[in-house]
Symmetry: C2
Subunit: 140 residues, 2 copies
Amino acid sequence: MSAPWTLDPQLAVDTVAVGDLPLARVRLVKDANYPWLLLVPRRTGASELTDLAEGEQVQLLGEIRAAADALKQTVPCDKLNIATLGNMVPQLHVHVIARTTADAAWPKAVWGAVPPRAYDPADMEALLAKLRARLKTAVS
Amino acid sequence: MSAPWTLDPQLAVDTVAVGDLPLARVRLVKDANYPWLLLVPRRTGASELTDLAEGEQVQLLGEIRAAADALKQTVPCDKLNIATLGNMVPQLHVHVIARTTADAAWPKAVWGAVPPRAYDPADMEALLAKLRARLKTAVS
Protein backbone atom coordinates (compact mmCIF):
# COMPACT_ATOMS: atom_id res chain seq x y z
CA MET A 1 0.00 0.00 0.00
CA SER A 2 1.60 3.30 -1.06
CA ALA A 3 1.71 6.28 1.27
CA PRO A 4 -1.13 8.79 0.90
CA TRP A 5 -0.26 11.89 -1.10
CA THR A 6 0.69 14.99 0.85
CA LEU A 7 1.74 18.43 -0.34
CA ASP A 8 5.50 19.02 -0.21
CA PRO A 9 6.31 21.08 2.95
CA GLN A 10 8.26 23.74 1.01
CA LEU A 11 5.40 24.20 -1.46
CA ALA A 12 3.02 24.44 1.51
CA VAL A 13 5.11 27.24 3.06
CA ASP A 14 5.42 29.21 -0.19
CA THR A 15 1.73 29.11 -1.16
CA VAL A 16 -1.86 29.29 0.11
CA ALA A 17 -4.77 27.01 -0.73
CA VAL A 18 -7.06 27.75 -3.66
CA GLY A 19 -8.78 24.38 -3.94
CA ASP A 20 -8.69 20.95 -5.54
CA LEU A 21 -9.36 20.16 -9.19
CA PRO A 22 -10.01 16.49 -10.04
CA LEU A 23 -6.28 15.71 -10.37
CA ALA A 24 -4.32 18.67 -9.03
CA ARG A 25 -4.29 20.70 -5.86
CA VAL A 26 -4.27 24.40 -6.79
CA ARG A 27 -2.22 26.82 -4.70
CA LEU A 28 -1.51 30.57 -4.98
CA VAL A 29 2.16 31.54 -4.59
CA LYS A 30 2.70 34.16 -1.85
CA ASP A 31 4.20 36.72 -4.21
CA ALA A 32 2.15 39.78 -5.11
CA ASN A 33 4.54 40.59 -7.97
CA TYR A 34 2.59 38.22 -10.22
CA PRO A 35 -0.67 36.28 -9.96
CA TRP A 36 0.94 32.85 -9.84
CA LEU A 37 -0.78 29.49 -9.43
CA LEU A 38 0.76 26.09 -8.79
CA LEU A 39 -1.00 22.90 -9.89
CA VAL A 40 0.21 19.91 -7.90
CA PRO A 41 -1.11 16.53 -9.11
CA ARG A 42 -2.12 14.40 -6.13
CA ARG A 43 -0.01 11.40 -7.20
CA THR A 44 2.49 10.05 -4.70
CA GLY A 45 6.05 10.01 -5.99
CA ALA A 46 5.43 11.89 -9.25
CA SER A 47 8.30 14.20 -10.12
CA GLU A 48 8.26 14.44 -13.91
CA LEU A 49 5.26 15.12 -16.14
CA THR A 50 6.12 11.78 -17.71
CA ASP A 51 5.63 10.03 -14.34
CA LEU A 52 1.88 10.50 -14.83
CA ALA A 53 -0.10 8.07 -16.97
CA GLU A 54 -0.95 9.49 -20.40
CA GLY A 55 -4.59 10.00 -19.45
CA GLU A 56 -3.52 11.89 -16.33
CA GLN A 57 -1.23 14.08 -18.43
CA VAL A 58 -4.20 15.00 -20.63
CA GLN A 59 -6.29 15.66 -17.49
CA LEU A 60 -3.51 17.91 -16.14
CA LEU A 61 -3.42 19.76 -19.46
CA GLY A 62 -7.14 20.48 -19.08
CA GLU A 63 -6.59 21.71 -15.53
CA ILE A 64 -3.72 23.95 -16.71
CA ARG A 65 -6.17 25.40 -19.24
CA ALA A 66 -8.76 25.97 -16.50
CA ALA A 67 -6.18 27.69 -14.29
CA ALA A 68 -4.99 29.84 -17.19
CA ASP A 69 -8.55 30.84 -18.06
CA ALA A 70 -9.35 31.68 -14.42
CA LEU A 71 -6.27 33.91 -14.21
CA LYS A 72 -7.01 35.64 -17.53
CA GLN A 73 -10.58 36.38 -16.41
CA THR A 74 -9.40 37.76 -13.05
CA VAL A 75 -6.20 39.77 -13.50
CA PRO A 76 -4.40 41.73 -16.22
CA CYS A 77 -2.39 39.30 -18.35
CA ASP A 78 -0.24 40.06 -21.38
CA LYS A 79 1.37 36.60 -21.45
CA LEU A 80 0.98 33.32 -19.65
CA ASN A 81 4.08 31.53 -18.42
CA ILE A 82 3.51 27.80 -17.92
CA ALA A 83 6.30 25.59 -16.65
CA THR A 84 7.30 22.50 -14.75
CA LEU A 85 10.85 22.76 -13.47
CA GLY A 86 11.20 21.02 -10.09
CA ASN A 87 14.92 21.66 -9.65
CA MET A 88 14.45 22.72 -6.04
CA VAL A 89 11.27 20.85 -5.04
CA PRO A 90 11.04 17.42 -6.68
CA GLN A 91 7.27 16.96 -6.16
CA LEU A 92 5.68 17.48 -9.60
CA HIS A 93 4.13 20.95 -9.79
CA VAL A 94 3.18 23.18 -12.70
CA HIS A 95 3.55 26.95 -12.57
CA VAL A 96 0.81 28.99 -14.28
CA ILE A 97 1.74 32.66 -14.06
CA ALA A 98 -0.04 35.75 -15.40
CA ARG A 99 2.63 38.14 -16.66
CA THR A 100 2.24 41.76 -17.69
CA THR A 101 4.73 43.97 -19.48
CA ALA A 102 4.71 46.18 -16.35
CA ASP A 103 5.50 43.45 -13.82
CA ALA A 104 8.62 43.43 -11.64
CA ALA A 105 10.59 40.91 -13.72
CA TRP A 106 9.33 41.51 -17.27
CA PRO A 107 10.52 40.24 -19.74
CA LYS A 108 12.67 37.91 -17.67
CA ALA A 109 11.50 34.59 -16.26
CA VAL A 110 10.21 35.00 -12.68
CA TRP A 111 12.39 32.41 -10.94
CA GLY A 112 15.07 34.20 -8.96
CA ALA A 113 14.41 37.50 -10.72
CA VAL A 114 13.21 39.69 -7.84
CA PRO A 115 12.39 38.99 -4.17
CA PRO A 116 8.79 37.95 -3.43
CA ARG A 117 6.47 40.77 -2.38
CA ALA A 118 3.88 40.11 0.33
CA TYR A 119 0.20 40.39 -0.56
CA ASP A 120 -2.06 42.79 1.26
CA PRO A 121 -4.23 40.25 3.14
CA ALA A 122 -7.53 41.70 1.92
CA ASP A 123 -6.30 41.81 -1.66
CA MET A 124 -5.18 38.20 -1.43
CA GLU A 125 -8.55 37.06 -0.05
CA ALA A 126 -10.38 38.91 -2.83
CA LEU A 127 -8.13 37.32 -5.46
CA LEU A 128 -8.58 33.86 -3.95
CA ALA A 129 -12.37 34.24 -3.88
CA LYS A 130 -12.49 35.13 -7.58
CA LEU A 131 -10.12 32.33 -8.58
CA ARG A 132 -12.06 29.76 -6.55
CA ALA A 133 -15.35 30.79 -8.14
CA ARG A 134 -13.90 30.60 -11.66
CA LEU A 135 -12.13 27.30 -11.15
CA LYS A 136 -15.29 25.79 -9.68
CA THR A 137 -17.21 26.88 -12.76
CA ALA A 138 -14.51 25.47 -15.02
CA VAL A 139 -14.82 21.94 -13.65
CA SER A 140 -18.54 21.75 -12.88
CA MET B 1 -6.18 32.93 -46.79
CA SER B 2 -3.80 33.15 -43.85
CA ALA B 3 -0.06 33.56 -44.29
CA PRO B 4 1.96 30.34 -44.32
CA TRP B 5 3.69 29.53 -41.02
CA THR B 6 7.34 30.46 -40.75
CA LEU B 7 9.77 30.07 -37.86
CA ASP B 8 10.34 33.28 -35.91
CA PRO B 9 13.67 34.84 -37.04
CA GLN B 10 15.06 35.10 -33.50
CA LEU B 11 14.27 31.45 -32.80
CA ALA B 12 15.92 30.57 -36.11
CA VAL B 13 19.12 32.39 -35.11
CA ASP B 14 19.27 30.83 -31.64
CA THR B 15 18.71 27.22 -32.72
CA VAL B 16 19.49 24.57 -35.33
CA ALA B 17 17.10 22.19 -37.10
CA VAL B 18 16.32 18.78 -35.65
CA GLY B 19 13.24 17.93 -37.69
CA ASP B 20 9.47 18.15 -37.87
CA LEU B 21 7.01 16.20 -35.75
CA PRO B 22 3.39 16.12 -36.97
CA LEU B 23 2.54 19.43 -35.24
CA ALA B 24 5.77 21.02 -34.06
CA ARG B 25 9.09 21.90 -35.60
CA VAL B 26 11.87 20.68 -33.32
CA ARG B 27 15.00 22.78 -32.88
CA LEU B 28 18.13 22.42 -30.74
CA VAL B 29 19.18 25.56 -28.85
CA LYS B 30 22.78 26.59 -29.58
CA ASP B 31 23.88 26.29 -25.96
CA ALA B 32 26.12 23.41 -24.97
CA ASN B 33 25.45 24.12 -21.28
CA TYR B 34 22.28 21.99 -21.50
CA PRO B 35 20.72 19.70 -24.12
CA TRP B 36 17.76 21.96 -24.88
CA LEU B 37 15.04 21.42 -27.45
CA LEU B 38 12.36 23.83 -28.63
CA LEU B 39 9.05 22.56 -29.99
CA VAL B 40 7.41 25.17 -32.20
CA PRO B 41 3.87 24.28 -33.35
CA ARG B 42 3.46 25.15 -37.03
CA ARG B 43 0.31 27.25 -36.47
CA THR B 44 0.33 30.82 -37.74
CA GLY B 45 -0.34 33.41 -35.05
CA ALA B 46 -0.28 31.04 -32.06
CA SER B 47 1.33 32.65 -29.02
CA GLU B 48 -0.31 30.94 -26.03
CA LEU B 49 -0.80 27.21 -25.49
CA THR B 50 -4.50 28.09 -25.31
CA ASP B 51 -4.37 29.50 -28.86
CA LEU B 52 -4.20 25.90 -30.10
CA ALA B 53 -7.36 23.83 -30.44
CA GLU B 54 -7.77 21.30 -27.63
CA GLY B 55 -6.87 18.39 -29.91
CA GLU B 56 -3.72 20.21 -30.97
CA GLN B 57 -2.81 20.80 -27.32
CA VAL B 58 -3.06 17.06 -26.70
CA GLN B 59 -0.96 16.42 -29.83
CA LEU B 60 1.65 18.88 -28.56
CA LEU B 61 1.67 17.12 -25.18
CA GLY B 62 2.49 13.86 -26.97
CA GLU B 63 5.28 15.56 -28.91
CA ILE B 64 6.67 17.04 -25.66
CA ARG B 65 6.70 13.49 -24.28
CA ALA B 66 8.54 12.26 -27.40
CA ALA B 67 11.11 15.05 -27.11
CA ALA B 68 11.57 14.36 -23.40
CA ASP B 69 12.04 10.64 -24.04
CA ALA B 70 14.53 11.29 -26.86
CA LEU B 71 16.58 13.55 -24.57
CA LYS B 72 16.49 11.09 -21.66
CA GLN B 73 17.69 8.27 -23.93
CA THR B 74 20.51 10.40 -25.34
CA VAL B 75 22.04 12.54 -22.61
CA PRO B 76 22.46 12.49 -18.81
CA CYS B 77 19.29 13.91 -17.25
CA ASP B 78 18.49 14.33 -13.57
CA LYS B 79 15.43 16.52 -14.21
CA LEU B 80 13.42 17.71 -17.16
CA ASN B 81 12.46 21.37 -17.35
CA ILE B 82 9.44 21.95 -19.60
CA ALA B 83 8.11 25.47 -20.15
CA THR B 84 6.32 27.85 -22.44
CA LEU B 85 7.19 31.46 -21.59
CA GLY B 86 7.28 33.61 -24.74
CA ASN B 87 8.06 36.90 -23.01
CA MET B 88 10.76 37.77 -25.54
CA VAL B 89 9.60 35.85 -28.65
CA PRO B 90 5.81 35.75 -28.95
CA GLN B 91 5.65 32.78 -31.35
CA LEU B 92 4.44 29.81 -29.29
CA HIS B 93 7.38 27.56 -28.42
CA VAL B 94 7.93 24.96 -25.71
CA HIS B 95 11.28 24.47 -24.02
CA VAL B 96 12.23 20.87 -23.18
CA ILE B 97 15.56 20.90 -21.34
CA ALA B 98 17.61 18.07 -19.86
CA ARG B 99 19.10 19.30 -16.60
CA THR B 100 21.76 17.69 -14.46
CA THR B 101 22.83 18.59 -10.96
CA ALA B 102 26.28 19.36 -12.43
CA ASP B 103 25.11 21.78 -15.14
CA ALA B 104 26.13 25.44 -15.30
CA ALA B 105 22.93 26.86 -13.82
CA TRP B 106 21.72 24.11 -11.48
CA PRO B 107 19.43 24.41 -9.54
CA LYS B 108 18.39 27.72 -11.07
CA ALA B 109 16.16 28.06 -14.12
CA VAL B 110 18.25 28.36 -17.30
CA TRP B 111 16.85 31.61 -18.68
CA GLY B 112 19.37 34.39 -18.13
CA ALA B 113 21.41 32.28 -15.71
CA VAL B 114 24.72 31.96 -17.56
CA PRO B 115 25.88 32.97 -21.06
CA PRO B 116 25.34 30.37 -23.81
CA ARG B 117 28.31 28.13 -24.55
CA ALA B 118 29.06 27.16 -28.17
CA TYR B 119 28.88 23.49 -29.14
CA ASP B 120 31.86 21.73 -30.60
CA PRO B 121 30.54 21.22 -34.17
CA ALA B 122 31.23 17.48 -34.23
CA ASP B 123 29.59 17.01 -30.83
CA MET B 124 26.54 18.92 -32.01
CA GLU B 125 26.22 16.83 -35.18
CA ALA B 126 26.50 13.63 -33.15
CA LEU B 127 23.82 14.83 -30.72
CA LEU B 128 21.53 15.90 -33.57
CA ALA B 129 21.89 12.52 -35.30
CA LYS B 130 20.88 10.64 -32.14
CA LEU B 131 17.95 12.94 -31.40
CA ARG B 132 16.69 12.71 -34.99
CA ALA B 133 16.82 8.92 -34.93
CA ARG B 134 14.95 8.74 -31.62
CA LEU B 135 12.30 11.28 -32.55
CA LYS B 136 11.68 9.49 -35.86
CA THR B 137 11.16 6.24 -33.98
CA ALA B 138 8.83 8.00 -31.53
CA VAL B 139 6.41 9.14 -34.23
CA SER B 140 6.62 6.26 -36.72
